[in-house]
């Protein structure tokens, strides 16, 4: 049941992301991100764009949290609000490639898989290796995995 629901949340997230990528909302977001002053002078209603972005992001995060609770049946502040989980939510899209739909998907599959595999191979201190890989990727692939793939295609 929880897996089915998680899948629905995934579809919703991908759908929202695709909508944001194809609609003018992407341009409004890009403008606000780079310079609020310029965005406003170009007529973008910055506060609306920010509110809608926050709303969409929290919508998906909230749904994901609900499904997570259904799967574990037990929530503690240590886990739900841990620094690791907060960082993970940022690292996955950066690793995969920001501002794209495939980026965070790819990042999620690879990073979570990698974390699990390392946990099996290196029982002690697997997080050190995991952290080192993250640092290297972010240093050398600032545009994430999607950036690399895009460059080869181009």
């Amino acid at each position: 049941m929880a897996y089915g629901l998680a899948f629905v949340v995934l579809l919703l997230a991908v759908g929202l992301s695709l909508w944001a990528e194809m609609s003018p909302f992407r341009l409004a977001q890009a403008a606000c991100r780079q310079s609020e002053t310029v965005a406003r002078v170009l007529g973008v209603r910055v506060i609306r764009v920010k509110l809608l972005s926050l709303f969409l992001g929290s919508l998906v995060a909230g749904l994901a949290g609900g499904v997570y609770g259904m799967k574990t049946l037990f929530l503690t502040p240590y886990d739900a609000f841990s620094l690791g989980r907060a960082v993970e939510a940022l690292v996955i899209p950066i690793f995969g490639g920001l501002y794209s739909t495939p980026g965070p998907l790819l990042g999620g599959v690879i990073l979570v898989g990698l974390e699990q595999a390392l946990r099996l191979w290196i029982q002690e201190g697997y997080l050190v290796v995991y952290g080192a890989i993250l640092i290297l990727v972010i240093l050398f692939l600032p545009r994430g995995l999607v950036g690399v793939l895009g460059r080869h295609r181009g």
């Binding site: 003018p24 341009l27 890009a30 310079s35 965005a39 406003r40 170009l42 910055v46």
Partner: protein, 241 residues
């Protein structure tokens, strides 16, 4: 010809500095007006007040007869008051076409995507950026950057365009091209208020000149008239001149 933009006794103070003091001026429909003055005269403050990035301490600003003194920048853009920045601020991760599309799509409320796209093509043609449409804005030359800055302001379909030293840093030949471009924009029905340091540009472009010094209007008239004005000469050359 009517007054399309009117500044009435506007003052602005930053802590101890009186940046503008009871400044009144206006822009006629279809006119190109230059605002000049030595460094620190208050030119940029004036432009920021006009585009809504700053609010005046006192005084009023009218646009096509409507009081816009307290409107935020985006609302002024929607009414038809466009602005180009002195320090070009392209959105570097977007292409030139996408940069213009931001202005075309959001510069007026409720523009259809199709209309915005068609208008962007027109602006690209007018500003000579067609061939660079797919380039990332972060990869342009300085001249192209300046064109983009102008083009993006134009994409919002302004009735009045505020230009902040858009010729700064251009070589004379390039400045000439930019002057021709500004004329084309005016001929397309846009009234223009610009700030400029380069006197040849002011002479070539301005129908009328307003001179600011220490936050006050000290002269106003044709280029020839203000160039002869004693107070203007003093402001530029020092009191002993």
């Amino acid at each position: 010809m009517g007054k399309v933009l009117e500044v009435i006794r506007v003052s602005k103070r930053f802590l101890g500095l009186q940046a503008l003091k009871e400044v009144s001026l206006h822009l006629e429909e279809g006119e190109i007006l230059a605002v000049i003055g030595p460094n620190g005269a208050g030119k940029s403050t004036l432009l920021n007040l006009l585009s809504g990035l700053l609010r005046p301490d006192s005084g009023r600003i009218l646009f096509q007869g409507q009081d816009i003194t307290h409107l935020p920048p985006e609302a002024r853009t929607h009414l038809g008051l466009g602005r180009a920045f002195q320090i070009v601020q392209p959105l570097p991760e977007l292409t030139v076409r996408e940069n213009l599309l931001v202005g075309a799509r959001f510069g007026k409320p409720q523009v259809r995507q199709k209309e915005a796209e068609a208008w962007v093509e027109e602006v690209l043609r007018l500003t000579g950026l067609e061939r660079r449409a797919e380039a990332l804005a972060g990869e342009l030359t300085l001249l192209e950057d300046k064109r983009l800055e102008l083009a993006r302001a134009l994409a919002t379909r302004p009735r009045v365009l505020l230009l902040d030293e858009v010729m700064a840093g251009l070589r004379p030949k390039e400045a000439e091209e930019a002057v021709a471009l500004v004329r084309r924009i005016r001929d397309a029905g846009v009234s223009i208020l610009f700030i400029e340091h380069l006197m040849p540009v002011v002479r070539a472009l301005a129908d009328r000149v307003v001179v600011l010094d220490y936050g006050e209007v000290i002269a106003e008239g044709t280029y020839q008239k203000v160039a002869q004005d004693q107070r203007v000469r003093e402001a530029y050359l020092g009191r002993g001149a």
